[in-house]
Amino acid sequence: MKLEKAKLVVQGLKAAGVDFTAGVPDAQFIEVYKMLAADPQMRYVGTANEAEAVGVGFGAWFGGKKPALILATSGLLVATYHLARVNILHEVPLLVVIPYRGDIGDPRWMGLYKKTTEPGLDAMDVPYRVVSRSEDIVRTIKECNESARAWLRCIAVVLNEEALW
């Protein structure tokens, strides 16, 4: 991804008031992870897997943080049990930002994730927005986090390659 697009993602997180981030780095979003890890304001915690990241974000929310999880499409599958539990049973708001493997614009064949990402979010009752234009990145991240915190629900922002490249 281009550096300026990664900057837009971080800018969106800051505009949303996010001050705590967790996840497992993936190649598609590596510039975002690097920026978060270098920014004390975003307090990035690198976890061993994405389900652990859900638990960490859940705990951080109870401590007054505004957490976001930065998850790959594969990582969303790993996180599924805990994310479903946090969203449906506890109703605790976690913003989830996902670079969309397998959607339009992905130069590699990752169709698996087209089949799992949106149906998976639907199954977990996590509302989401797919962002295809880079000019929508900042606003969508901000608005999704506002809704998550108002509704006490997890909400996902899914950024496809059209928006990121």
Binding site: F20, A22, R43, V45, G46, T47, A48, N49, A51, E52, A53, V54, G55, V56, G57, F58, G59, A60, W61, F62, G63, G64, K65, P67, Y81, H82, R85, L89, H90, E91, V92, E143, E146, S147, R149, A150, L152
Partner: protein
């Protein structure tokens, strides 16, 4: 060997009211809720989520002691969190594992299938290997009291593996209501808001524009 109930009674008698306790699902939450009616309890952390949640809470509130009341099967599902804890080094975190060496679940008459600690695995050695220097195992009430007292009064992170009876042969009464996850969320969040001066639930409205 000591029972889970006996150690939780010890813990309830020792723990200051402002120490935040995150408890795993099953008998840890069920027993703890009967023994310690307190605002600082966050219940029902499912398999793999107890210590990560306690760790996230400890990171967000470095001025508060946080105790993860975890269990062997629960911790094993996300064992990597011990490495994360070691590297982030939250000095206010205590991880207490009730290690009964089996997936007890709702079994009441006989233990469940064994966990890895029912075989060769030693969790306190795993914790040390992950980089948590203060890691120990206890097998009786006296050792438990000593280690909990030490952990409450010294900077951590601390890891205490308490080996308990495989079966919960002693159980508390069920006269107290354990709040469900949503009820507990509101109560616990309001308690944190009040005692730490942070905003969690907010006004219930977004701030668009």
């Amino acid at each position: 060997m000591v029972t889970r109930l006996a150690l939780l009674k010890e813990l309830a008698s020792m723990i200051p009211e402002d120490v935040l306790v995150v408890s795993s699902i099953g008998n840890n939450s069920g027993f703890w809720g009967q023994l310690a009616v307190r605002e600082a309890n966050l219940f029902h952390a499912t398999l793999g989520m107890c210590t990560p949640a306690a760790f996230g809470l400890a990171m967000a509130l470095p001025n508060r002691k946080v105790l993860s009341l975890d269990a062997d099967g629960n911790l094993l599902l996300n064992l990597g969190v011990l490495g994360t804890v070691a590297n982030e080094n939250p000095t206010n975190l205590i991880i207490l594992v009730m290690d009964n060496r089996n997936y007890l679940g709702s079994h009441k008459k006989e233990p469940g299938m064994p966990t890895a600690t029912g075989g060769k695995m030693k969790l306190e050695q795993v914790a040390k290997g992950c980089g948590i220097e203060s890691a120990c195992m206890v097998q009786d009430a006296a050792g438990f009291r000593e280690k909990i007292k030490m952990a409450l009064s010294n900077s951590g992170p601390h890891f205490i593996c308490a080996q308990v009876e495989p079966l919960d042969i002693e159980r508390p009464g069920k006269d107290k209501r354990i709040p469900d996850p949503r009820e507990n969320k509101y109560e616990f969040a309001k308690y944190i808001e009040r005692t730490n001066g942070v905003e969690i639930l907010g006004g219930g409205l977004g701030n668009f524009g």
